[in-house]
């Protein structure tokens, strides 16, 4: 199990929402979380999960 770096939920490695940043793969529970991460990856890596993004 992996942790969604945006909302903190547990996610499977077969999640279709994933991205690579600085050579490491990150998995997400939804396209919303993935988009939020892609917008500012450093923020989530530095400060940890923030909960569901409010869109």
């Amino acid at each position: 199990m992996m942790i969604d770096p945006v909302c903190g939920m547990e996610v499977n490695e077969d999640s279709q929402y994933k991205t690579m940043y600085k050579g490491k793969v990150y998995y997400f529970c939804s396209p919303h979380c993935m988009k939020a991460f892609q917008k500012d990856p450093e923020k989530y890596l530095r400060e940890g999960p923030k909960g569901m993004p409010n869109e």
Binding site: C7, T19, M20, K22, G23, V25, S30, H32, M52, E55
Partner: protein, 750 residues
């Protein structure tokens, strides 16, 4: 709540909708938010586990709620059912509104030309049988469920039967009337008045029940006035008009039978697989509908291929104009795909069936075309307003005509009555209801024969007004066959080739054509960005420049970079040729003064090259979402946008545009989001031409309808009397020819 508002109430106090596509907590809150955003929704409770959205409303339309959910990127489980109903064309809109008032109904569209109603409803709150009962209860119209057939022939037969009965009894009525035997004429006129004319009386009654008026009201009123006045005249020994009443019905039936025949001819033009036979390998002959996937069928020269499949044996030339619009035959041999509905001109094929029944290409086309035929064009709103006041105005005019002739000009009651009845009989709101749908129907059918599938009839009218054309590049403007040129470290290039073999992306396919037989482990694809994998013990990333640079050190030229163990060591340049067709289309659009944009996900120099070659603005490096955003912004600015793309990755942008046009090979029609599907970009010009012609045809049809009525009514009222006098029966004949004229005009190619 005002009356007008309560009319819009399409939903009960609570409705349960099954939402599809939710897979996390964010999704359910997004859906919930989108539902609550609809005006009139009191509360919404969305359950992620069951996918059920419970919606509590005060005053909102189910249609708006479903649209809101769909706009948020999710879908709702709905069911569609087709009913057949007997209606007058001008009543179509009213019936749609009444049906949309029924609880659970999302959308209703009535095709006035063939009387098919397509209803989309929420299967969680009503069944199709309940729906049929509700429609009868609310509108007085009996409906029968049909499958996706175009029209049934019974209307012409039914009309013909009544027409024959009408004339069989009208002729003796005429004879007895003029032989001074009005009492016998009374009896012979009964079958005409009350059997042949029954559909008009019933129609008038239904209209009365729905508090409206229509053509049936006029016909029923005029014949009944003539007949019942004659009944009174028999009793008091005055002049009778049984001949007038009977001739009215008989003449109207001539026109209406002809109209029914023409409507049917226009409707049933698309080949359907419904009645085709299929010959199985073992010699048995069955209906095409009974075929199953995996069956092997034999097709001989001259026969229509009854299902989609792959050639297993044999060779032949196939006419695929039904898919591509091209009448040039295509050679087919073992392993080639064939499409049901196309014709094997010569040769012999054994075909392995891959798609049958409603899943075949042609069935989907017929279904799509059927839906397009029920389109409601914006121009129809004006027409509806006119026809809703038309009949009451004519009834008023007719009363006025009677008053003027009788009391002002001092004519006898009988003469005044004849003018008044002629006025009623000469006016016909029918062609107003027919003008738009018939024009759309003919265009949609003609385009289908050229391989252009119009799924949304309204788009034909909108396309004419489109001022901005946004094109996808790869596969739409260009051939989509990307070639690559690699530079840099040779080993890295062969790693890239090995890794790209695992992906289906067109660029990946081009890179993987470079020979390499290395093994790949831990392959991961990042759609729209690139791929990662371990090759020969090395970490390899191949992808878009931005994506690779975010994960690697170094720099590189080219459009696609290759990163090995954290360093960029090789790169590729991409090339994609512009289609000959595209140049022609872009030139034509420029001449029309349209704004043209190419929106592409491609970030390479090639994108700019294409833009320069065509002298068109290029916005590059866009994701599927960003393309949609671009379209949305243009629409917000008030532009009318047509987006043309090749389907899958452009689906969202296609949906956002005022008119979404998908380019397809034809076979994957179901998954496209387009309003219109064209086989190749060159067909856009044909489409634009037809869009212009359709709007022109509608206007011409309306001109016929208006012109006809405005000439005929004053003459029937006796304005030119005694120079020109139009007896009621001829007024009726002339009136019924109005719809015939509109139908015929719709068939005439311009």
């Amino acid at each position: 709540m005002s009356n007008k508002e309560s009319e819009k109430l399409r939903i009960g106090k609570e409705e349960e909708l099954k939402v599809v596509g939710m897979h996390c907590a964010t999704c359910s809150s997004t859906v919930s938010k989108s539902i609550k955003g609809v005006k009139g929704v009191k509360d919404a409770n969305v359950n992620l586990a069951s996918g059920i959205a419970k919606v509590e409303v005060e005053n909102a339309r189910l249609k708006d709620i479903v649209n809101a959910i769909r706009k948020a990127g999710y879908d709702v489980v709905t069911q569609k059912v087709s009913f057949k109903v007997d209606i007058n064309p001008e009543d179509a809109r009213k019936l749609e509104e009444k049906i949309e008032d029924i609880k659970g109904v999302i959308k209703a569209s009535v095709n006035p030309t063939n009387g098919v109603i397509l209803v989309e409803f929420n299967p969680y709150s009503i069944t199709s049988d309940e729906l049929a009962e509700e429609i009868y209860r609310k509108t007085g119209h009996k409906v029968t469920k049909v499958k996706s057939e175009v029209a049934n022939k019974s209307e012409v037969h039914e009309m013909l039967k009544r027409l024959i009965i009408a004339w069989v009894f009208t002729i003796p009525t005429l004879y007895f009337q003029y032989s001074g035997l009005p009492l016998v004429a009374l009896f012979t006129s009964i079958p005409v008045q009350f059997y042949a004319g029954l559909r008009y009386h019933l129609g008038a009654y239904r209209a009365f029940k729905n508090r409206t008026t229509n053509m049936d009201t006029l016909v029923s009123l005029s014949t009944n006035i003539a007949w019942f006045y004659s009944l009174y005249a028999v009793i008091v020994h005055q002049q009778t008009f049984f001949d007038v009443a009977s001739l009215l019905v008989s003449f109207i039936l001539i026109g209406k039978t002809l109209e029914a025949y023409l409507k049917e001819r226009i409707s049933v033009q698309i080949t359907s697989l419904r009645n085709l036979k299929a010959r199985l390998e073992d010699g048995r002959v069955i209906n095409a509908e009974e075929l199953k996937v995996g069956d092997k069928i034999i097709v001989k020269g001259g026969e229509v291929i009854p299902a989609d499949g792959i050639v297993d044996e044999g060779k032949g030339e196939v006419n695929e104009s039904i898919v591509t619009g091209e009448s040039m035959p295509v050679k087919k041999g073992k392993g080639d795909a064939v499409i049901g509905g196309s014709t094997l001109i010569s040769g012999y094929l054994k075909v392995y069936v891959t798609r049958t029944g409603e899943r075949t290409y042609i069935s989907q086309v017929v279904e799509a075309v059927n839906q397009a035929q029920t389109a409601r064009l914006p121009i129809q709103n004006l027409v509806d307003k006119v026809s809703s006041v038309f009949t009451p105005v004519i009834i008023g005019v007719s009363a006025l005509v009677f008053t003027v002739w009788k009391f002002l000009l001092g004519f006898s009651t009988e003469d005044a009555l004849l003018f008044s009845v002629a006025t009623l009989a000469s006016a016909c709101p029918c062609p107003f209801g027919l003008a738009t749908p018939l024009a759309v129907l003919t265009s949609v059918n003609r385009l289908a024969k050229k391989g252009i599938i119009v799924r949304n009839g309204e788009s034909l009218e909108i396309l004419k007004k489109a001022d901005t054309f946004i094109f996808d590049k790869t596969g739409t403007i260009t051939e989509g066959k990307i070639s690559v040129r690699g530079e840099g470290d040779k080993t890295a290039i062969s790693y890239a080739s090995a890794i790209e073999k695992m992906s289906n992306h067109p660029i990946a396919k081009a890179i993987s054509s470079i020979p390499s037989s290395l093994e790949v482990k831990d392959f991961t694809e990042f759609p729209g960005s690139g791929v990662y994998g371990k090759v020969d013990g090395h970490d390899v990333i191949v992808g878009k420049r931005d994506f690779v640079l975010q994960n690697c050190e170094g720099d590189g030229k080219g459009d696609v970079l290759v990163c090995v163990d954290g360093k960029v060591t090789a790169w590729f340049y991409l090339e994609d040729k512009v289609r000959d067709d595209s140049v022609k289309v872009i030139d034509a659009l420029k001449k029309m003064g349209k704004r043209i944009i190419i929106a592409t996900g491609d970030n390479s120099e090639n994108a700019e090259k294409v833009g320069k070659e065509l002298e068109v603005d290029v916005i590059k490096g866009l994701s599927a979402d960003e393309k949609a955003e671009l379209v949305k912004n243009e629409v917000k600015k008030g532009r009318i946008v047509a987006f043309i793309g090749d389907g899958i990755n452009d689906a969202i942008a296609i949906k956002e545009a005022n008119v979404g046009i998908a380019i397809s090979s034809g076979t994957d029609i179901a998954k496209y989001a387009g309003d219109i599907i064209i086989p190749k970009i060159g067909d856009l010009l044909t489409l634009l031409e037809y869009s212009r012609l359709t709007v022109r045809k509608i206007k011409e049809n309306l001109a016929w309808a208006f012109g006809y009525n405005s000439i005929l009514v004053p003459i029937a009222a006796g304005l030119l009397y005694p120079a020109i006098y139009l007896p009621p029966e001829y007024a009726a004949l002339a009136m019924s020819m109005d719809s015939v004229a509109v139908s015929l005009w719709s068939l005439v190619k311009v």
